[in-house]
């Protein structure tokens, strides 16, 4: 696709998302109540818009739960996996709006990170942990593990990937404890790669059966492990993604494939063409704002401005009138 045409498509997508801004938040579908996930992807797509970025920052700080996390929507139960996406958003805003964030913003991020550290999956019960500690020493409890969807449950590929992205893209130095958690979570992901490459939701083998990978989860993990490009599992996953993505040319699948492949420096022109073919005249990708936000991030990646790429330098923030 011609660069100018891609930029035009990207601009139209941005304008659509801006029109759907409800004052620092977005719902999954127009007319509904807030969704932290839709807010995250729409904001990341718009991360260079100073005014909206500040508005989202204020909204997220105001809706942070007392425990430091976020729920899928304000008031809907305990903090859940949306915490990782809220932190990912704040981290990217912090990077893009450098100098524009105050101490409340940083404290909010720190509280969120503390909750995530406390919510890593515990594969042993409290009693089991004590027994193992007594029998084998403290090192046995330093094992590969990621994050659950909801507190106290098993770890899975997607919440672990979202959390890794949030922690790896958070500006500033990581605490040693966070560094260890990132390493163990990365190791966990690498350990559950499917036979032949790629990832599914997290069970590569169940009851002796080798389970197949999915394109979306594979791309999410590749994006989270883009700093492991030479690892065999990542290379095999990329091969799987290249073979599987054309057969699953949905907005979600294509968007994640673009974000993942671009993060590894791969050509994404074919996926971009397929994605823009699904863009509506109003700039949207249908009435699902999660998908419109994600696809807009992917269009930015196609223009070498991947918001999820590690080490991506902040470019000058801009202002677009609503």
């Amino acid at each position: 696709m011609h660069a100018t045409s891609l930029q035009d498509r990207h601009q139209k997508a941005l304008e659509y998302i801006i029109k759907q801004d409800q004052g620092g938040w977005w719902p999954y579908h127009p007319g509904q109540r807030p969704s932290v996930e839709a807010t995250a992807w729409c904001t990341i797509a718009l991360c260079k818009q100073v005014k909206i970025g500040k508005s989202v920052g204020s909204y997220l700080l105001a809706t942070q739960n007392a425990d430091g996390g976020w729920s899928t929507a304000p008031g809907i139960g305990q903090s859940d996996w949306g915490t990782s996406l809220a932190l990912l958003t704040l981290g990217i805003l912090s990077r893009e709006l450098a100098g524009g964030q105050d101490s409340d913003f940083r404290k909010s991020c720190q509280r969120g990170i503390s909750l995530l550290m406390a919510r890593r999956a515990q594969l042993y019960t409290a009693i089991g942990s004590v027994i193992l500690f007594l029998l084998q020493g403290p090192d046995v409890l330093d094992y590969p593990r990621g994050w659950p969807w909801t507190a106290g449950c098993f770890h899975w590929v997607e919440p672990t990937s979202y959390t890794l992205l949030a922690l790896k893209l958070m500006p500033g130095d990581q605490d040693p404890e966070v560094r260890d958690a990132v390493k163990q979570a990365s190791t966990y992901l690498l350990s559950v790669a499917c036979t032949g490459g790629g990832w599914n939701y997290g069970n590569n083998i169940t009851l002796g059966a080798h389970l197949p990978p999915y394109p979306v989860t594979t791309a999410e993990v590749i994006t989270a492990l883009q700093d492991w490009p030479d690892h065999k599992a990542v290379k095999e996953a990329l091969t799987f993604l290249n073979s599987a993505a054309p057969a699953q040319a949905t907005i979600m699948s294509l968007s994640w494939a673009i974000l993942a492949k671009n993060a590894l420096g791969e050509d994404v022109s074919g996926e971009i063409s397929s994605l823009v073919d699904q863009q509506h005249p109003d700039g949207s990708f249908g009435d699902n704002l999660l998908l419109s936000g994600l696809a807009t991030c992917a269009l930015a990646a196609g223009d070498n401005r991947n918001p999820l790429k590690f080490g991506a330098p902040a470019s000058p923030a801009t202002e677009v009138n609503k």
Partner: protein, 345 residues
Amino acid sequence: MTISDTTKHSRRAFLGAAAASLTLAACTRNDEEHFSEAQRSRRRQGESTVAVVRCQSYDRDIWSLIKPHVLELGLPDLTGKHVVLKPNMVEYRKDKPVHTNPAMIEAAAQLVDHLGAGQITVAEGPGHFRDTEFLLSATGIGKICSQLGLPFVDLNLDEVDLLPNPAGLTELKHFVLPKTILTADAVVSLPKMKTHHWVGVTASMKNLFGTVPGRKYGWPKNLLHFQGIERSIIDLVHLVSPVFALVDGIVAMEGDGPINGVAKESGIVVLGNDLAAVDATCARAMGLDPKNLTYMRMAGELVGNIDSQKIKVIGTPLDEVRQSFVMPVTFSDPKLAGSPGQQGS
């Protein structure tokens, strides 16, 4: 006593205490004890009627086959009501009967239309795949919805509210459930009849896991496994309270269901308004005694009838359609059934 002796002694004492705690914990997790009056009070009373309809192919006019039995089943009047049809679309595997066949959705739409439905919505919250657009395309469910002009709602991303769970079996004080389910006048469960490696059989009651939104609970909805699959099933039956179920047993699944099993041509459709009775009948059609399945026994106490003496089967006699389904390995080797919390559906 040396320091080493002290350590050994403490460790031994601790291990003993830990073992005692674990034994006690195991004893208190007996699912068949201590149902309260409040829990029992929600059980359906009286006898139940279930239709077993022979249907060898999805190419048949399924609605015309089930229509003669509708009156005797006592299905509810749905005049002017908003009815949500809830198929099973947990995942897609090429050449595996994981999901409800689209032909069943068409038959269900014709049935609820016959009962007077004013508005029909198809809704599902897939349990494994986040990419619902792909699932709708691959399973053919999106196509049938378009052809019939029925809107589809992805329950994983729907608006949600907290619903209190009084007298629930799980420890959850509330369930977060989609508004489409909470505001519907009637929900109809449209499952695929399959073996299930954790609970034995999945049909109209287990199908309700798909009403729980991923936006809160994730993919898979792992909290339900941690709360106990059986207990979660019973809680959801009471909270969602489907008015009836229409089970796709035309091509069912045996072996390592509900995802990785193999097709079993059982050639039946099962229909009724007591979900416990419908699922118990499915189990019998699969060659199983429902009383050997924990959640079916619980359903017999808390939902409706599973005793064959209390279930009137109309249509095709069960003896004419009963087959012997291959069960998952978890049922021949119970050691393998110990970790559902660490697995998907």
